[in-house]
């Protein structure tokens, strides 16, 4: 029977291989300069695997040095993932000047609120502040992506399939990370190998989504959008709101008239 540790190492080797293939594919499709932060993020995960594997070989395994190296590299990777998310958000929204100005404030606020809320559960304990920060960060990434998708849906903004798949991968990994971590937090010490294995599996699924997207979907084309003057939007917007208000009032009249009768 295969030991959990061996299984985890096998999955780890497999994800590193898929990461390398993804990076090569990004280079082959000439996406490196078009998605610099995403490419740096993928590269950083490869470097992280190499660094942590080396640390495991050099130091004794239950070692504080290995733990510090692993967490420091993880912080860098999470930061780069966040940058990749910002890059994708910009690519999707910055053609729409007005929408982008509104969206980034909204997304930033949502992200900060979720992160702050996650930290509230730490109760001043540094160990939990550290762990909840990572978990909160991942939850923020997931929430920002979902808010962005809902926002795009509300305004009927088209999202190219490549962007959509990259976002989906980021969001799925973040959400499953939070779920895995939370469900196993009480038994993290006993189940550390199992937890590592589940985490790697969800990450592998994410990598496969990205690899498929990068290999299949073309680079999104950008076309000029018609623009209306700001003043025209302001006037039309308030008039439209008035009309919506009036229609709503009309409906309320119907409701109230019925209530009066009853």
């Amino acid at each position: 029977m295969v030991e959990p540790l061996q299984l985890r190492n096998l999955a780890w080797a497999l994800t590193t291989t898929v990461e390398c293939v993804l990076f090569v594919q990004l280079a082959r499709r000439k996406f490196l300069d078009k998605y610099p932060w995403f490419s740096i993020y993928v590269a950083s995960t490869i470097v992280q695997s190499a660094v942590v594997a080396t640390a495991y070989r050099v130091f004794d395994v239950p070692s504080m040095v290995v733990w510090k190296i692993a967490w420091a590299s993880q912080l860098i990777v999470v930061f780069l993932r966040f940058q990749a998310l910002v890059e994708l958000t910009r690519k999707i929204l910055d053609r729409y000047l007005g929408i982008w100005a509104l969206a980034w404030r909204l997304l930033f606020t949502v992200g900060i609120l979720v992160l702050a809320n996650s930290l509230l559960f730490s109760k001043g304990d540094w160990y939990w502040i550290f762990h909840n920060m990572e978990r909160g960060f991942e939850l923020s990434i997931g929430t920002i992506i979902v808010t962005l998708l809902l926002f795009a849906r509300y305004y009927r903004l088209p999202i190219q399939r490549l962007h959509s798949a990259l976002m989906l991968g980021l969001c799925l990994y973040s959400v499953f990370f939070v779920l895995n971590y939370t469900l196993l937090e009480k038994h993290i010490q006993e189940l550390v190998n199992f937890w590592g294995f589940v985490d790697i599996l969800t990450y592998l699924a994410t990598l496969l989504i990205w690899l498929n997207a990068v290999s299949r979907y073309p680079e999104p084309a950008t076309q000029a959008l018609p623009v209306i003057p700001k003043e025209l939007y302001g006037k039309l917007s308030s008039e439209l709101n008035l009309r919506l208000h009036l229609l709503n009032r009309q409906l309320n009249q119907l409701l109230r008239s019925e209530d009066q009768h009853r």
């Binding site: 998708l149 009927r156 088209p158 623009v227």
Partner: protein, 190 residues
């Protein structure tokens, strides 16, 4: 079960569900440069509000009841409820068209007014809730009612305000479609 455990699991599941919902294929997209003013110039169902209210008045069927035509009264009321439901559908469609127009305008605008966008979102939620509620009430059997002359007057007043608002939209649009000095590409279709 601790509060943090509940929070993280609940929140993660909500995010996952919303992700699935938001990833569904979108409905048809409104073509902003061609359809905005065509949609605005379409006839407005809200003007028939007075007739709808009239049709639901108790006096309209009271006479038939008095002369013993109860089955006819029932049939008539059923028919009128059906008309009222169709009217509500049209009203909803009109509301959605206006929302579509406002979204299209926001997408094309170099700057959006957050408060107005929020207000529109609030209105759309309120309208959807009221409309669904009223439709269910009608389906369950709306009875004719009395004493709403005042309401009819208010309805006429609303229709007048709507007319004025629409005229202003058209005027503003015509003025706005004239070549501007902003340097941006203007919408050709306006």
């Amino acid at each position: 079960m601790s509060a943090s455990l509940l929070f993280f699991i609940f929140f993660a599941l909500v995010v996952l569900s919303l992700l699935l919902w938001a990833s569904r294929p979108a409905k048809h997209q409104f073509a902003p440069d061609a359809d905005v003013f065509e949609a605005l110039s379409q006839s407005r169902h809200c003007y028939h509000f007075h007739q709808i209210m009239q049709a639901l008045r108790p006096e309209d069927t009271e006479y038939l009841r008095e002369i013993g035509q109860a089955p006819l009264v029932r049939a008539l009321r059923l028919q009128r409820r059906g008309v009222a439901l169709i009217y509500l559908d049209c009203l909803q469609k009109e509301f959605e068209t206006l929302l579509e127009i406002s979204r299209a305008l926001a997408v094309m605008s170099p700057e959006v007014i957050a408060m107005e966008e929020m207000e529109r979102w609030r209105l759309s939620v309120a309208f959807a809730a009221h409309c669904a509620f009223l439709k269910w009430k009608l389906r369950l059997g709306l009875q004719p009612f009395s004493g709403f002359t005042l309401l009819s007057d208010m309805a006429i007043n609303i229709a007048r305000q709507l007319e004025a608002a629409t005229t202003r939209i058209a005027e503003t649009a015509v003025r706005g479609s004239e070549p501007s000095a902003t340097g941006h590409e203007n919408i050709a279709g306006l």
